[in-house]
């Protein structure tokens, strides 16, 4: 029965495809008209469904996402390699959004009768659109190997625009309140990204970035500096951005340990915690036994040094281990830190932690107060944001210098084959220790700022899960790259804010995201060129899967 049905579907798809070249444009045109008309008709018979679905001529909410995907239907008319895959991805996403919205409306309204005509018209359009791309023959032409070179400024602006657009999308996503609409947004976004990727957009952007790196970085820095001026004195996003900065700096530090030297550290958050406690105890909070008040620059340096020292002390015995064993021992040290601060309540306040940490103060400059610059009022968090910007820039600089140095080459060699590396004359023990210590130092520095941004420190902020989150930021963004760690941190700070509606499933969704990413883009979102080569070198794949020594001349 089912088999016969599947057969029928397969044969009709076959028949459709044999007429494809002729049929597809008309199908797509009809689909486009239906989608545009459908999204301008009401989708729900009742008011109150998110996105004003009962209004005509007012496409909002999920109808906007559907409309945004509709231009992809024009791909049938273009001669371009992979247009079929791109079109199919976009129209399938379109269909998914429509179906998901219909289900949500029916659930909220109490049955399919409450789904209004517009939704059904759009559904028909979506189905026709999918059919148009199923029918389209695959032209299978390869993507162009080399892209045309445009003026430097144009290329750099394209990258900056892409980054700005993704941030704008992120900000928009955070504003979407209704869970059903948010799911629709995610579906549309996912389909759209896959489609753009199939069209080679990200390859092109990657090539542009590689070519115009310096200019792009300058423009991005300029954009980052102007960001607080766009916030109209509000502190909400600046607080999020300052948090992203804190974790980005820590993630870059972890990237030195994991991405460059290849040492899996599962207790990394402890170093971050050391920095935070140093700031709480010896900073202007003066919660330590001495009630001392060190100036904040001294606190950052002290936090970084203490944390780095702890890193070296822990690393010295630990780094004799390799791979899984190292991971397990670092995990153990992370737990020891957690237990220690929980237990020694004379210093650390125990499980309650240390609270009421005042804002940073440097001379008469209070980081908590709003300031007016060039006639624009900047909320208090702008100060932390700028501090983080400087810190991240500093950490990025350190990372870049290390990566390009003799030390960086030694780390890569250790990551690939430790025994061979030491046969090359590389002192593997000290280089591993160096990576561990640098990672801990960077984490400690950002931890000191975190204590003031969060106004409190408590043992529960430095648990295993936080280490995993940082590690996920590194893996998600791309191991061994700086932008990767920043993007990863941005996503991991911002998205959980959003997924509060699904808080029971937050980790589940998060895990799902990681699994999907690892399946389709194992090198991370912004990979280093080396990683890209590791995962996507056609002739490299065989050599990698073959055991050493099995290749015979």
């Amino acid at each position: 029965m089912t088999a016969a049905l599947l057969d029928r579907v397969a044969t009709s798809a076959e028949r459709l495809r044999s007429h494809g070249t002729r049929l597809s444009p008309s199908l797509a045109a009809a689909a486009f008209v239906l989608v545009v008309v459908g999204t301008n008709l009401p989708w729900a018979t009742f008011s109150g469904f998110p996105g004003l679905m009962s209004l005509a001529l007012y496409p909002a909410g999920s109808r906007i996402y559907v409309l945004a995907l509709a231009p992809a239907l024009a791909l049938v008319a273009v001669r371009f390699s992979r247009r079929r895959q791109a079109g199919l991805a976009a129209t399938l996403a379109l269909l998914a959004v429509v179906v998901q919205t219909i289900i949500a409306i029916a659930r909220d309204g109490g049955g399919l009768v409450n789904v209004s005509v517009g939704a059904w018209v759009t559904l028909l359009g979506a189905l026709l659109g999918v059919a148009a791309f199923v029918a389209l023959p695959d032209d299978g032409a390869p993507l162009p190997r080399s892209w045309p070179v445009l003026p430097a400024l144009v290329e750099a602006l394209a990258v900056v625009f892409a980054v700005a657009a993704s941030l704008a999308l992120l900000v928009y996503a955070l504003d979407v309140e209704a869970p059903s609409q948010f799911v629709g947004f995610l579906l549309a976004l996912g389909g759209g990204l896959v489609a753009l990727n199939r069209l080679g957009l990200f390859e092109w952007l990657g090539a542009l970035y590689a070519r115009r790196q310096a200019l792009t970085l300058v423009l991005m820095a300029a954009a980052a500096v102007t960001f607080p001026f766009t916030q109209g004195g509000s502190s909400y996003w600046l607080r999020v951005a300052a948090n992203v900065g804190v974790f980005a700096a820590a993630a870059i530090g972890l990237n030195v340990v994991v991405g460059l030297a290849g040492l899996l550290d599962l207790g990394y958050i402890a170093f971050f915690g050391v920095g935070a406690y140093v700031a709480a105890l010896y900073g202007n909070a003066g919660l330590g036994p001495s009630r001392g008040h060190l100036p904040f620059l001294a606190v950052i340096v002290l936090g970084a040094l203490v944390s780095g020292l702890v890193g070296v002390l822990i690393g010295a015995p630990t780094l004799r281990l390799r791979g899984d064993y190292l991971a397990i021992v670092t995990l153990g040290f992370g737990e020891i830190f957690h237990t220690l601060v929980n237990t020694y309540d004379a210093y650390t306040g125990g499980p309650n932690g240390l609270s009421n940490i005042p804002d940073l103060r440097q001379g008469s400059f209070d980081f908590g107060l709003p300031h007016t610059v060039f006639g624009v009022e900047l909320a208090g968090f702008a100060n932390y944001y700028y501090l983080e910007l400087v810190l991240v820039a500093l950490v990025m600089f350190v990372f870049a210098r290390l990566n390009a140095s003799r030390i960086g080459r030694a780390w890569v060699a250790i990551r690939e084959d430790e025994l061979a590396a030491s046969a090359m004359g590389i002192n593997t023990v000290s280089y591993k220790l160096l990576a561990f210590g640098i990672g801990a130092t960077l984490a400690g520095a950002s931890g000191t700022v975190q204590a003031h941004v969060a106004t409190q420190v408590s043992p529960d902020s430095f648990v295993f899960l936080q280490s995993v989150f940082l590690l996920a930021a590194v893996v998600l963004g791309g191991m061994g790259t700086v932008p990767g760690a920043v993007v990863g941190a941005a996503i991991l700070i911002a998205v959980p804010e959003k997924l509060r509606a699904f808080s029971d499933y937050r980790l589940l969704l998060f895990g799902l995201l990681l699994v999907i990413l690892m399946r389709f883009r194992p090198e991370g979102m912004i990979p280093s060129r080396r990683r890209q080569r590791e995962f996507h070198d056609a002739d490299g794949a065989d050599a990698l899967s073959a055991p050493p020594g099995s290749a015979v001349a």
Binding site: R409, D537, G549, S550, A551
Partner: protein, 236 residues
Amino acid sequence: MSLLEVRDLRVAYGAIEAIKGISLDVEEGQVVTLIGTNGAGKTTTLRTLSGLLRPVAGQVLFDGARLDKLKAHEIVARGVAHAPEGRRIFPLMTVEENLELGAYSRKGEAIAQDVAEVFERFPRLHERRAQKAGTLSGGEQQMLAIGRALMSRPRLLMLDEPSMGLSPIMIQLIFDTVAELKAAGTTILLVEQNASAALALADTGYVLETGRVVLTGTGPDLLTDENVRKAYLGED
């Protein structure tokens, strides 16, 4: 005085003694080979000499100075290069990057020139210099491993089973290379299972059996020795 003197070397993996007192000498400009079956202790000996393993007892003297207390990277800096068993090239780096890492113990000078020299010796590597090393054939990987070891400008080159897993043509090519290196005056300590080819090249040979030297002689002598022929060269 020999360039390398090994005196009563003992190495153990935990409670199991793999090397039970080996002594050997390598003269400057000589090719010395260690032959023996699996588990005889050949690879363990080389790894101990290059500092990857610690001896339990015994001495290693290189140019009169003790090596056995030094760490691996210090031994490389003294001029002992080790092309390890199984080649152990860096598979994800390019051929050129592999060679540059071979010169890690040196500081800057004339590295590009030495890379060019290795490419001259192995034109196949030059063709593939921008390719990932893991994509090379086994023979090419072995050339790379030897080239990489030469990049440290060693006074003693230790090769661990360079012919392992290679086709007969490649084995011939690798042994030709060893012969060329010998002719150029390189001191070589060669570990091999391919006893006939190794002994044909060697000035001196040591036959190892379960961690002990059971026979010593010049290459040609061992090649004609009845016991060696029976045990290692497949004659009844």
